[in-house]
Protein backbone atom coordinates (compact mmCIF):
# COMPACT_ATOMS: atom_id res chain seq x y z
CA UNK A 1 0.00 0.00 0.00
CA UNK A 2 2.82 2.30 0.85
CA UNK A 3 4.44 1.58 -2.46
CA UNK A 4 1.33 2.40 -4.32
CA UNK A 5 1.01 5.69 -2.58
CA UNK A 6 4.59 6.64 -3.21
CA UNK A 7 4.36 5.75 -6.86
CA UNK A 8 1.15 7.63 -7.25
CA UNK A 9 2.43 10.84 -5.85
CA UNK A 10 5.12 11.72 -8.35
CA UNK A 11 2.56 12.09 -11.06
CA UNK A 12 0.75 14.83 -9.24
CA UNK A 13 3.61 16.66 -7.78
CA UNK A 14 6.03 16.41 -10.61
CA UNK A 15 4.21 18.57 -13.02
CA UNK A 16 5.70 21.60 -11.32
CA UNK A 17 9.36 21.66 -12.44
CA UNK A 18 12.36 19.71 -13.71
CA UNK A 19 13.58 16.68 -11.74
CA UNK A 20 17.11 16.83 -10.44
CA UNK A 21 17.06 13.38 -8.84
CA UNK A 22 14.80 10.53 -9.86
CA UNK A 23 14.78 7.58 -7.50
CA UNK A 24 12.95 4.38 -8.42
CA UNK A 25 12.41 1.34 -6.24
CA UNK A 26 15.39 1.97 -4.03
CA UNK A 27 16.21 -0.70 -1.42
CA UNK A 28 19.07 -0.22 0.96
CA UNK A 29 20.86 -2.77 3.13
CA UNK A 30 23.28 -2.49 6.00
CA UNK A 31 24.65 -6.01 5.74
CA UNK A 32 21.58 -8.18 6.17
CA UNK A 33 19.45 -5.37 7.60
CA UNK A 34 17.10 -3.92 5.05
CA UNK A 35 16.97 -0.28 6.14
CA UNK A 36 14.94 1.19 3.27
CA UNK A 37 12.54 -0.49 0.93
CA UNK A 38 10.83 0.54 -2.30
CA UNK A 39 11.57 4.23 -2.22
CA UNK A 40 10.37 6.20 -5.25
CA UNK A 41 10.86 9.92 -5.22
CA UNK A 42 11.56 12.85 -7.54
CA UNK A 43 13.58 15.77 -6.27
CA UNK A 44 12.81 19.04 -7.99
CA UNK A 45 15.49 21.29 -9.33
CA UNK A 46 15.88 24.70 -7.66
CA UNK A 47 13.60 23.79 -4.81
CA UNK A 48 14.07 22.77 -1.20
CA UNK A 49 12.93 19.27 -0.36
CA UNK A 50 12.64 18.26 3.30
CA UNK A 51 12.83 14.71 4.64
CA UNK A 52 11.02 14.20 7.91
CA UNK A 53 10.25 11.20 10.06
CA UNK A 54 11.01 9.71 13.46
CA UNK A 55 14.53 8.90 14.52
CA UNK A 56 15.99 5.84 12.84
CA UNK A 57 13.59 5.79 9.92
CA UNK A 58 16.37 6.05 7.38
CA UNK A 59 16.33 9.70 6.38
CA UNK A 60 20.08 10.02 6.65
CA UNK A 61 20.58 6.70 4.97
CA UNK A 62 18.51 7.76 2.01
CA UNK A 63 20.23 11.12 1.78
CA UNK A 64 23.58 9.38 1.69
CA UNK A 65 22.39 7.17 -1.15
CA UNK A 66 22.05 10.24 -3.31
CA UNK A 67 25.76 11.04 -3.37
CA UNK A 68 26.96 7.50 -2.71
CA UNK A 69 28.39 8.34 0.70
CA UNK A 70 27.11 4.98 1.83
CA UNK A 71 29.72 3.36 -0.42
CA UNK A 72 32.18 4.23 2.31
CA UNK A 73 30.46 1.97 4.85
CA UNK A 74 31.62 -1.59 4.26
CA UNK A 75 28.92 -4.18 3.80
CA UNK A 76 26.22 -1.84 2.55
CA UNK A 77 24.24 -2.42 -0.63
CA UNK A 78 21.91 -0.28 -2.66
CA UNK A 79 19.36 -1.64 -5.11
CA UNK A 80 17.09 0.23 -7.46
CA UNK A 81 17.80 3.26 -9.59
CA UNK A 82 19.04 6.69 -8.58
CA UNK A 83 19.35 9.13 -11.46
CA UNK A 84 20.91 12.58 -11.44
CA UNK A 85 19.74 14.59 -14.44
CA UNK A 86 18.72 11.27 -15.91
CA UNK A 87 22.14 9.61 -15.51
CA UNK A 88 22.41 6.52 -13.33
CA UNK A 89 24.39 7.49 -10.25
CA UNK A 90 25.29 3.86 -9.56
CA UNK A 91 26.05 3.15 -13.19
CA UNK A 92 29.26 1.42 -14.19
CA UNK A 93 32.30 3.66 -14.37
CA UNK A 94 30.70 6.54 -12.51
CA UNK A 95 33.33 8.27 -10.39
CA UNK A 96 31.82 8.69 -6.92
CA UNK A 97 34.35 11.41 -6.13
CA UNK A 98 33.11 13.50 -9.03
CA UNK A 99 29.51 12.76 -8.14
CA UNK A 100 30.15 13.99 -4.62
CA UNK A 101 31.67 17.18 -5.90
CA UNK A 102 28.48 17.85 -7.82
CA UNK A 103 26.26 16.77 -4.94
CA UNK A 104 27.61 18.48 -1.85
CA UNK A 105 26.78 17.52 1.70
CA UNK A 106 26.44 19.27 5.06
CA UNK A 107 26.36 17.25 8.26
CA UNK A 108 24.64 17.60 11.60
CA UNK A 109 27.87 18.19 13.47
CA UNK A 110 29.83 21.08 11.97
CA UNK A 111 33.06 19.45 10.85
CA UNK A 112 35.66 21.97 9.71
CA UNK A 113 39.05 20.45 8.94
CA UNK A 114 41.71 21.14 11.53
CA UNK A 115 43.32 23.81 9.36
CA UNK A 116 42.85 27.53 8.79
CA UNK A 117 39.56 29.00 7.69
CA UNK A 118 41.12 29.90 4.36
CA UNK A 119 42.46 26.40 3.81
CA UNK A 120 39.11 24.92 4.73
CA UNK A 121 37.41 26.76 1.93
CA UNK A 122 40.29 26.36 -0.49
CA UNK A 123 40.39 22.62 0.16
CA UNK A 124 37.84 21.68 -2.48
CA UNK A 125 39.17 23.87 -5.30
CA UNK A 126 42.67 22.63 -4.58
CA UNK A 127 41.48 19.04 -4.70
CA UNK A 128 40.17 19.68 -8.13
CA UNK A 129 43.35 21.23 -9.37
CA UNK A 130 43.12 24.95 -8.68
CA UNK A 131 46.58 26.19 -7.74
CA UNK A 132 46.87 29.91 -8.39
CA UNK A 133 46.69 32.00 -5.28
CA UNK A 134 44.63 34.75 -6.88
CA UNK A 135 42.00 32.29 -8.11
CA UNK A 136 41.83 30.68 -4.71
CA UNK A 137 41.52 34.03 -2.96
CA UNK A 138 38.61 34.88 -5.17
CA UNK A 139 36.84 31.58 -4.63
CA UNK A 140 37.35 31.71 -0.87
CA UNK A 141 35.94 35.22 -0.59
CA UNK A 142 33.03 34.50 -2.89
CA UNK A 143 32.10 31.27 -1.08
CA UNK A 144 32.32 32.77 2.38
CA UNK A 145 30.14 35.63 1.19
CA UNK A 146 27.55 33.29 -0.25
CA UNK A 147 27.58 31.32 3.01
CA UNK A 148 26.78 34.48 4.97
CA UNK A 149 29.90 34.25 7.11
CA UNK A 150 32.37 36.52 5.30
CA UNK A 151 31.84 39.49 7.58
CA UNK A 152 32.60 37.46 10.69
CA UNK A 153 35.75 35.81 9.40
CA UNK A 154 37.26 38.10 6.80
CA UNK A 155 39.89 39.37 9.22
CA UNK A 156 40.78 36.00 10.70
CA UNK A 157 41.14 33.82 7.62
CA UNK A 158 44.40 32.48 9.02
CA UNK A 159 42.86 31.24 12.25
CA UNK A 160 41.98 27.61 12.78
CA UNK A 161 38.50 26.68 11.59
CA UNK A 162 37.87 24.92 14.90
CA UNK A 163 38.22 28.17 16.84
CA UNK A 164 34.91 29.47 15.48
CA UNK A 165 31.60 29.05 17.29
CA UNK A 166 29.39 26.12 16.29
CA UNK A 167 27.10 28.23 14.14
CA UNK A 168 30.01 29.91 12.37
CA UNK A 169 31.62 26.53 11.85
CA UNK A 170 28.49 25.25 10.18
CA UNK A 171 28.39 28.21 7.81
CA UNK A 172 32.08 27.73 7.14
CA UNK A 173 31.28 24.14 6.17
CA UNK A 174 28.61 25.41 3.82
CA UNK A 175 31.09 27.86 2.30
CA UNK A 176 33.52 25.00 1.87
CA UNK A 177 30.99 23.04 -0.11
CA UNK A 178 29.88 26.04 -2.15
CA UNK A 179 33.48 26.57 -3.21
CA UNK A 180 33.31 23.50 -5.46
CA UNK A 181 30.11 24.77 -7.09
CA UNK A 182 27.82 21.85 -6.36
CA UNK A 183 24.52 21.47 -8.19
CA UNK A 184 22.79 19.86 -5.24
CA UNK A 185 23.24 20.43 -1.53
CA UNK A 186 22.30 17.62 0.85
CA UNK A 187 21.90 18.82 4.42
CA UNK A 188 21.54 16.29 7.23
CA UNK A 189 20.00 18.12 10.19
CA UNK A 190 22.28 21.08 9.60
CA UNK A 191 20.75 23.14 12.39
CA UNK A 192 20.30 20.74 15.23
CA UNK A 193 23.67 21.41 16.82
CA UNK A 194 23.87 25.17 16.47
CA UNK A 195 22.50 28.20 18.23
CA UNK A 196 19.18 29.87 17.25
CA UNK A 197 20.77 32.95 15.70
CA UNK A 198 22.86 30.81 13.42
CA UNK A 199 19.83 28.68 12.60
CA UNK A 200 18.15 31.83 11.35
CA UNK A 201 21.14 32.66 9.19
CA UNK A 202 21.32 29.18 7.71
CA UNK A 203 17.64 29.21 6.91
CA UNK A 204 17.97 32.59 5.15
CA UNK A 205 20.89 31.18 3.25
CA UNK A 206 18.87 28.27 1.96
CA UNK A 207 16.27 30.63 0.58
CA UNK A 208 18.99 32.55 -1.27
CA UNK A 209 20.80 29.49 -2.56
CA UNK A 210 17.87 27.69 -4.04
CA UNK A 211 17.86 29.95 -7.11
CA UNK A 212 20.99 28.19 -8.25
CA UNK A 213 21.18 24.99 -6.23
CA UNK A 214 18.82 22.15 -5.49
CA UNK A 215 18.58 21.58 -1.75
CA UNK A 216 17.57 18.50 0.22
CA UNK A 217 17.33 18.85 3.97
CA UNK A 218 16.74 16.30 6.70
CA UNK A 219 15.21 17.82 9.78
CA UNK A 220 13.61 16.73 12.99
CA UNK A 221 12.04 20.07 13.43
CA UNK A 222 8.67 20.20 11.74
CA UNK A 223 8.49 23.95 12.04
CA UNK A 224 11.74 24.21 10.20
CA UNK A 225 10.54 21.90 7.46
CA UNK A 226 7.44 24.00 7.11
CA UNK A 227 9.41 27.23 7.00
CA UNK A 228 12.12 26.34 4.52
CA UNK A 229 10.93 23.62 2.20
CA UNK A 230 8.85 23.47 -0.95
CA UNK A 231 8.39 19.71 -0.90
CA UNK A 232 8.33 17.31 2.01
CA UNK A 233 8.85 13.57 2.18
CA UNK A 234 7.75 11.61 5.22
CA UNK A 235 9.58 8.39 6.05
CA UNK A 236 8.49 5.81 8.58
CA UNK A 237 9.80 2.57 9.92
CA UNK A 238 6.64 0.99 11.26
CA UNK A 239 8.25 -1.86 13.19
CA UNK A 240 11.66 -1.92 14.79
CA UNK A 241 14.00 -4.05 12.72
CA UNK A 242 11.95 -3.76 9.56
CA UNK A 243 12.61 -1.64 6.52
CA UNK A 244 11.41 1.96 6.44
CA UNK A 245 9.19 3.25 3.67
CA UNK A 246 8.35 6.57 2.13
CA UNK A 247 4.85 7.18 3.42
CA UNK A 248 3.96 10.41 1.75
CA UNK A 249 5.57 12.93 -0.55
CA UNK A 250 3.95 16.19 -1.50
CA UNK A 251 4.20 19.93 -1.61
CA UNK A 252 5.03 21.06 1.89
CA UNK A 253 1.94 23.20 2.17
CA UNK A 254 -0.28 20.28 1.20
CA UNK A 255 1.44 17.70 3.34
CA UNK A 256 1.32 19.79 6.48
CA UNK A 257 -2.26 20.99 6.06
CA UNK A 258 -4.01 18.06 4.43
CA UNK A 259 -1.91 14.92 4.82
CA UNK A 260 -3.43 12.01 2.97
CA UNK A 261 -2.04 9.33 5.24
CA UNK A 262 -3.18 8.96 8.82
CA UNK A 263 0.36 8.10 9.94
CA UNK A 264 1.64 11.37 8.49
CA UNK A 265 -1.03 13.22 10.32
CA UNK A 266 -0.24 11.42 13.58
CA UNK A 267 3.39 12.32 13.17
CA UNK A 268 3.03 15.96 12.35
CA UNK A 269 0.55 16.48 15.12
CA UNK A 270 3.06 14.94 17.50
CA UNK A 271 1.12 11.80 18.35
CA UNK A 272 4.37 9.78 18.22
CA UNK A 273 8.11 10.18 17.74
Amino acid sequence: MTDKLASQDPGDVLSAGADKFTVDGLDFFYGAFNALSGIDVRIKEHAVTAFIGPSGCGKSTFLRCLNRMNDLIPGTRCEGKVRLDGHDVYGPGVDPADLRRRVGMIFQQPNPFPMTIYDNVAYGPRLHGMRKRADLDAVVEESLKRANVWKEVKDILGRGGLTLSGGQQQRLCIARVLAVEPEVLLMDEPCSAIDPTSVQKVEDLMAELKDRITIVIVTHNMQQAARVSDYTAFFLQELAGEAAHLIEFDRTATLFTTPRDRRTEDYITGRFG
Binding site: L72, N111, L127, C173, V180
Partner: protein, 317 residues
Protein backbone atom coordinates in the same frame (compact mmCIF):
# COMPACT_ATOMS: atom_id res chain seq x y z
CA UNK B 1 4.27 14.67 57.35
CA UNK B 2 1.81 12.48 55.56
CA UNK B 3 1.18 8.78 56.00
CA UNK B 4 3.66 7.30 53.55
CA UNK B 5 6.52 9.23 55.11
CA UNK B 6 10.05 8.33 54.20
CA UNK B 7 10.69 6.83 57.59
CA UNK B 8 8.27 4.06 56.82
CA UNK B 9 10.07 3.41 53.63
CA UNK B 10 13.25 3.17 55.55
CA UNK B 11 11.86 0.76 58.05
CA UNK B 12 11.71 -1.88 55.36
CA UNK B 13 15.09 -1.02 53.99
CA UNK B 14 17.94 -3.37 54.63
CA UNK B 15 19.64 -1.69 57.52
CA UNK B 16 22.92 -0.18 56.41
CA UNK B 17 25.71 -1.19 58.72
CA UNK B 18 27.31 2.04 59.59
CA UNK B 19 24.50 4.48 59.53
CA UNK B 20 25.55 7.64 61.27
CA UNK B 21 23.92 9.26 64.29
CA UNK B 22 21.49 11.39 62.32
CA UNK B 23 19.91 8.42 60.53
CA UNK B 24 16.53 9.31 61.88
CA UNK B 25 15.07 10.93 58.75
CA UNK B 26 17.90 13.42 58.62
CA UNK B 27 20.99 12.81 56.55
CA UNK B 28 23.52 10.43 57.98
CA UNK B 29 27.09 11.47 58.45
CA UNK B 30 29.98 9.63 56.98
CA UNK B 31 31.03 7.15 59.61
CA UNK B 32 34.53 7.45 60.94
CA UNK B 33 35.38 3.91 59.91
CA UNK B 34 34.28 4.44 56.34
CA UNK B 35 36.12 7.68 56.16
CA UNK B 36 39.33 6.18 57.51
CA UNK B 37 39.15 3.16 55.28
CA UNK B 38 38.61 5.20 52.15
CA UNK B 39 41.44 7.55 53.06
CA UNK B 40 43.75 4.65 53.84
CA UNK B 41 43.03 2.93 50.54
CA UNK B 42 43.45 6.13 48.62
CA UNK B 43 46.86 6.68 50.13
CA UNK B 44 47.90 3.09 49.51
CA UNK B 45 47.06 3.55 45.83
CA UNK B 46 48.92 6.81 45.78
CA UNK B 47 52.00 5.08 47.14
CA UNK B 48 51.79 2.50 44.35
CA UNK B 49 51.46 5.25 41.79
CA UNK B 50 54.53 6.90 43.21
CA UNK B 51 56.59 3.76 42.64
CA UNK B 52 57.02 4.98 39.08
CA UNK B 53 58.50 8.23 40.36
CA UNK B 54 60.65 6.29 42.79
CA UNK B 55 61.84 4.07 39.93
CA UNK B 56 63.06 6.95 37.83
CA UNK B 57 64.71 8.52 40.85
CA UNK B 58 66.42 5.29 41.83
CA UNK B 59 67.75 4.76 38.34
CA UNK B 60 69.10 8.24 38.36
CA UNK B 61 70.68 7.78 41.77
CA UNK B 62 72.23 4.36 41.27
CA UNK B 63 73.41 4.70 37.71
CA UNK B 64 74.43 8.27 38.43
CA UNK B 65 76.37 7.25 41.52
CA UNK B 66 78.32 4.63 39.62
CA UNK B 67 78.85 6.68 36.50
CA UNK B 68 79.28 10.20 37.77
CA UNK B 69 82.98 9.87 38.72
CA UNK B 70 83.93 9.61 35.05
CA UNK B 71 82.32 12.99 34.39
CA UNK B 72 84.05 14.38 37.42
CA UNK B 73 87.38 12.94 36.40
CA UNK B 74 87.37 13.81 32.72
CA UNK B 75 85.01 16.73 32.73
CA UNK B 76 81.76 16.59 30.82
CA UNK B 77 83.35 18.08 27.73
CA UNK B 78 86.07 15.52 27.43
CA UNK B 79 83.79 12.57 28.13
CA UNK B 80 81.07 13.62 25.73
CA UNK B 81 83.34 15.40 23.29
CA UNK B 82 86.34 13.07 23.30
CA UNK B 83 86.65 11.30 19.99
CA UNK B 84 88.62 8.24 21.05
CA UNK B 85 87.17 5.34 22.94
CA UNK B 86 90.19 3.23 23.84
CA UNK B 87 89.65 1.81 27.32
CA UNK B 88 92.88 -0.18 27.47
CA UNK B 89 94.71 3.08 26.87
CA UNK B 90 92.62 4.96 29.37
CA UNK B 91 90.83 7.00 26.69
CA UNK B 92 87.13 7.35 27.36
CA UNK B 93 85.74 9.83 24.83
CA UNK B 94 82.29 8.78 23.67
CA UNK B 95 81.64 11.24 20.86
CA UNK B 96 82.23 8.50 18.32
CA UNK B 97 79.68 6.28 20.03
CA UNK B 98 77.14 9.09 20.23
CA UNK B 99 77.54 9.84 16.54
CA UNK B 100 77.24 6.15 15.67
CA UNK B 101 74.11 5.75 17.78
CA UNK B 102 72.55 8.75 16.05
CA UNK B 103 73.51 7.39 12.63
CA UNK B 104 71.97 4.03 13.45
CA UNK B 105 68.81 5.66 14.75
CA UNK B 106 68.44 8.05 11.83
CA UNK B 107 68.73 5.35 9.20
CA UNK B 108 66.38 3.04 11.06
CA UNK B 109 63.90 5.88 11.21
CA UNK B 110 64.20 6.73 7.54
CA UNK B 111 63.42 3.13 6.65
CA UNK B 112 61.04 2.30 9.46
CA UNK B 113 58.91 5.42 9.87
CA UNK B 114 57.44 5.48 6.35
CA UNK B 115 56.87 1.74 6.53
CA UNK B 116 55.14 2.16 9.87
CA UNK B 117 53.04 5.15 8.88
CA UNK B 118 52.09 3.38 5.66
CA UNK B 119 51.09 0.32 7.63
CA UNK B 120 49.10 2.45 10.06
CA UNK B 121 47.28 4.23 7.23
CA UNK B 122 46.61 0.84 5.74
CA UNK B 123 45.15 -0.45 8.98
CA UNK B 124 43.01 2.55 9.71
CA UNK B 125 41.94 3.72 6.25
CA UNK B 126 42.57 1.20 3.52
CA UNK B 127 42.21 -2.35 4.79
CA UNK B 128 38.86 -4.04 4.77
CA UNK B 129 37.88 -5.39 8.18
CA UNK B 130 38.88 -8.88 7.15
CA UNK B 131 42.33 -7.89 5.94
CA UNK B 132 42.78 -5.81 9.05
CA UNK B 133 41.99 -8.87 11.15
CA UNK B 134 45.16 -10.43 9.75
CA UNK B 135 47.42 -7.43 9.50
CA UNK B 136 46.98 -5.96 12.92
CA UNK B 137 47.94 -9.12 14.82
CA UNK B 138 50.99 -9.36 12.59
CA UNK B 139 52.04 -5.88 13.64
CA UNK B 140 51.43 -6.73 17.27
CA UNK B 141 53.41 -9.94 16.98
CA UNK B 142 56.26 -8.04 15.45
CA UNK B 143 56.31 -6.02 18.65
CA UNK B 144 56.36 -9.19 20.73
CA UNK B 145 59.39 -10.80 19.14
CA UNK B 146 62.33 -10.47 21.54
CA UNK B 147 65.10 -8.22 20.35
CA UNK B 148 67.65 -10.99 20.74
CA UNK B 149 65.72 -12.93 18.10
CA UNK B 150 65.87 -9.94 15.76
CA UNK B 151 69.60 -9.84 16.35
CA UNK B 152 69.98 -13.53 15.74
CA UNK B 153 67.94 -13.29 12.57
CA UNK B 154 70.03 -10.37 11.43
CA UNK B 155 73.23 -12.18 12.21
CA UNK B 156 72.56 -15.52 10.60
CA UNK B 157 70.33 -14.58 7.68
CA UNK B 158 70.48 -10.91 6.82
CA UNK B 159 74.18 -10.26 7.39
CA UNK B 160 75.43 -12.99 5.01
CA UNK B 161 72.98 -11.81 2.36
CA UNK B 162 74.24 -8.25 2.66
CA UNK B 163 77.83 -9.46 2.63
CA UNK B 164 77.14 -11.33 -0.58
CA UNK B 165 75.29 -8.50 -2.31
CA UNK B 166 77.40 -5.56 -1.23
CA UNK B 167 80.73 -7.21 -0.44
CA UNK B 168 82.54 -6.75 2.83
CA UNK B 169 81.68 -8.56 6.00
CA UNK B 170 78.01 -7.69 6.24
CA UNK B 171 78.39 -5.87 9.54
CA UNK B 172 77.56 -2.21 9.51
CA UNK B 173 75.04 0.59 9.47
CA UNK B 174 73.07 -0.78 6.57
CA UNK B 175 72.35 -4.09 8.25
CA UNK B 176 71.45 -2.32 11.47
CA UNK B 177 69.15 0.06 9.62
CA UNK B 178 67.17 -2.75 8.11
CA UNK B 179 66.71 -4.55 11.41
CA UNK B 180 65.98 -1.37 13.38
CA UNK B 181 63.63 -0.24 10.65
CA UNK B 182 61.54 -3.37 11.11
CA UNK B 183 61.80 -3.27 14.88
CA UNK B 184 60.34 0.21 15.23
CA UNK B 185 57.44 -0.46 12.89
CA UNK B 186 55.08 -1.75 15.58
CA UNK B 187 55.86 1.12 17.96
CA UNK B 188 55.17 3.78 15.38
CA UNK B 189 52.40 1.97 13.56
CA UNK B 190 50.17 1.29 16.55
CA UNK B 191 50.44 4.84 17.85
CA UNK B 192 49.92 6.34 14.42
CA UNK B 193 46.90 4.17 13.91
CA UNK B 194 45.50 5.43 17.22
CA UNK B 195 46.12 8.98 16.12
CA UNK B 196 44.38 8.41 12.80
CA UNK B 197 41.43 6.72 14.48
CA UNK B 198 40.98 9.62 16.82
CA UNK B 199 40.45 11.97 13.90
CA UNK B 200 36.69 12.54 14.02
CA UNK B 201 34.73 10.51 11.49
CA UNK B 202 32.94 13.67 10.42
CA UNK B 203 36.12 15.10 8.98
CA UNK B 204 36.67 12.04 6.84
CA UNK B 205 33.09 12.18 5.61
CA UNK B 206 33.35 15.87 4.88
CA UNK B 207 36.38 15.31 2.71
CA UNK B 208 34.86 12.44 0.76
CA UNK B 209 31.66 14.40 0.41
CA UNK B 210 33.61 17.13 -1.37
CA UNK B 211 34.81 14.75 -4.02
CA UNK B 212 38.18 13.90 -2.56
CA UNK B 213 39.68 10.55 -3.40
CA UNK B 214 40.84 8.29 -0.61
CA UNK B 215 44.44 9.33 -1.07
CA UNK B 216 43.56 13.03 -1.14
CA UNK B 217 41.66 12.57 2.09
CA UNK B 218 44.55 10.73 3.70
CA UNK B 219 47.21 13.10 2.48
CA UNK B 220 45.50 16.44 2.84
CA UNK B 221 43.30 15.96 5.86
CA UNK B 222 44.00 12.87 7.92
CA UNK B 223 47.77 12.92 8.11
CA UNK B 224 47.87 16.65 8.90
CA UNK B 225 45.11 16.23 11.48
CA UNK B 226 46.96 13.35 13.12
CA UNK B 227 50.35 14.93 12.78
CA UNK B 228 50.98 15.53 16.48
CA UNK B 229 50.20 11.92 17.27
CA UNK B 230 52.44 10.80 14.44
CA UNK B 231 55.30 12.98 15.63
CA UNK B 232 54.89 11.53 19.12
CA UNK B 233 54.95 8.05 17.66
CA UNK B 234 58.07 8.77 15.67
CA UNK B 235 59.85 10.17 18.71
CA UNK B 236 58.97 7.04 20.65
CA UNK B 237 60.32 5.04 17.73
CA UNK B 238 63.51 7.07 17.93
CA UNK B 239 63.79 6.20 21.61
CA UNK B 240 63.30 2.56 20.83
CA UNK B 241 65.93 2.67 18.09
CA UNK B 242 68.60 4.47 20.06
CA UNK B 243 68.09 2.26 23.11
CA UNK B 244 68.08 -1.01 21.21
CA UNK B 245 70.97 -3.19 22.27
CA UNK B 246 70.80 -6.90 21.71
CA UNK B 247 69.75 -6.75 18.10
CA UNK B 248 72.38 -4.17 17.25
CA UNK B 249 75.31 -5.79 19.03
CA UNK B 250 75.10 -8.85 16.84
CA UNK B 251 75.16 -7.06 13.52
CA UNK B 252 77.04 -3.82 14.08
CA UNK B 253 80.55 -5.25 14.06
CA UNK B 254 81.49 -3.14 17.07
CA UNK B 255 84.51 -1.22 15.83
CA UNK B 256 84.98 1.91 17.97
CA UNK B 257 85.29 4.28 15.03
CA UNK B 258 82.94 6.33 12.90
CA UNK B 259 82.58 4.10 9.85
CA UNK B 260 83.55 5.54 6.47
CA UNK B 261 80.98 3.37 4.73
CA UNK B 262 77.55 2.05 5.62
CA UNK B 263 78.98 -1.44 5.21
CA UNK B 264 81.73 -1.02 7.79
CA UNK B 265 81.58 -2.06 11.45
CA UNK B 266 80.76 0.47 14.14
CA UNK B 267 80.15 0.62 17.89
CA UNK B 268 77.27 2.43 19.61
CA UNK B 269 76.41 3.65 23.09
CA UNK B 270 74.38 0.58 23.88
CA UNK B 271 76.61 -2.03 22.32
CA UNK B 272 79.75 -0.78 24.00
CA UNK B 273 78.17 -1.72 27.29
CA UNK B 274 77.43 -5.28 26.19
CA UNK B 275 80.85 -5.73 24.66
CA UNK B 276 82.90 -4.28 27.50
CA UNK B 277 80.92 -5.01 30.64
CA UNK B 278 82.19 -8.59 31.02
CA UNK B 279 85.75 -7.50 31.64
CA UNK B 280 85.62 -3.82 32.49
CA UNK B 281 86.87 -2.61 35.84
CA UNK B 282 87.89 0.66 37.43
CA UNK B 283 87.51 3.74 35.25
CA UNK B 284 86.43 1.63 32.34
CA UNK B 285 83.45 0.29 34.26
CA UNK B 286 82.67 3.76 35.55
CA UNK B 287 82.76 5.03 31.99
CA UNK B 288 80.26 2.38 30.94
CA UNK B 289 77.91 3.60 33.65
CA UNK B 290 78.61 7.08 32.34
CA UNK B 291 77.40 5.87 28.95
CA UNK B 292 74.26 4.56 30.66
CA UNK B 293 73.68 8.03 32.12
CA UNK B 294 73.94 9.51 28.65
CA UNK B 295 71.43 6.98 27.30
CA UNK B 296 69.09 7.68 30.18
CA UNK B 297 69.28 11.42 29.59
CA UNK B 298 68.65 10.99 25.87
CA UNK B 299 65.54 8.93 26.54
CA UNK B 300 64.32 11.54 29.03
CA UNK B 301 64.81 14.23 26.42
CA UNK B 302 62.65 12.26 24.00
CA UNK B 303 59.90 11.85 26.57
CA UNK B 304 60.06 15.50 27.52
CA UNK B 305 59.87 16.62 23.91
CA UNK B 306 56.75 14.51 23.42
CA UNK B 307 55.28 16.36 26.38
CA UNK B 308 56.16 19.72 24.97
CA UNK B 309 54.79 18.90 21.53
CA UNK B 310 51.55 17.50 22.90
CA UNK B 311 51.10 20.49 25.11
CA UNK B 312 51.65 22.89 22.25
CA UNK B 313 48.77 21.16 20.52
CA UNK B 314 46.57 21.85 23.53
CA UNK B 315 47.31 25.54 23.17
CA UNK B 316 47.24 25.60 19.37
CA UNK B 317 44.02 24.71 17.57
Amino acid sequence: MSAGSPREGQAQAPAPQDRGPAGNGGLSRISRATHLKEALLRNAFLVCACVAVAGVTLIFVFVGYQGWPIFAKLGIGEFLGGRVWYPTKGLFGILTLVVNSLLAMAGGLVLGAPLAVGTAVFLSEVASPRVREVTRPAVELLAGIPSVVYGFFGLVLLRPIIARVFGGLGFGLFTVWVILGVMIVPTIATLTEDALRSVPEGIREASYAMGATKWQTIWRVLLPAARIGIIDAVILGMGRAIGETMAVVMIAGNAPVIPDSIFKPFLTLTTVIVMDMPYASGDHRTALFGVAIVLFVISMIFVASIRVISRSRGEGD
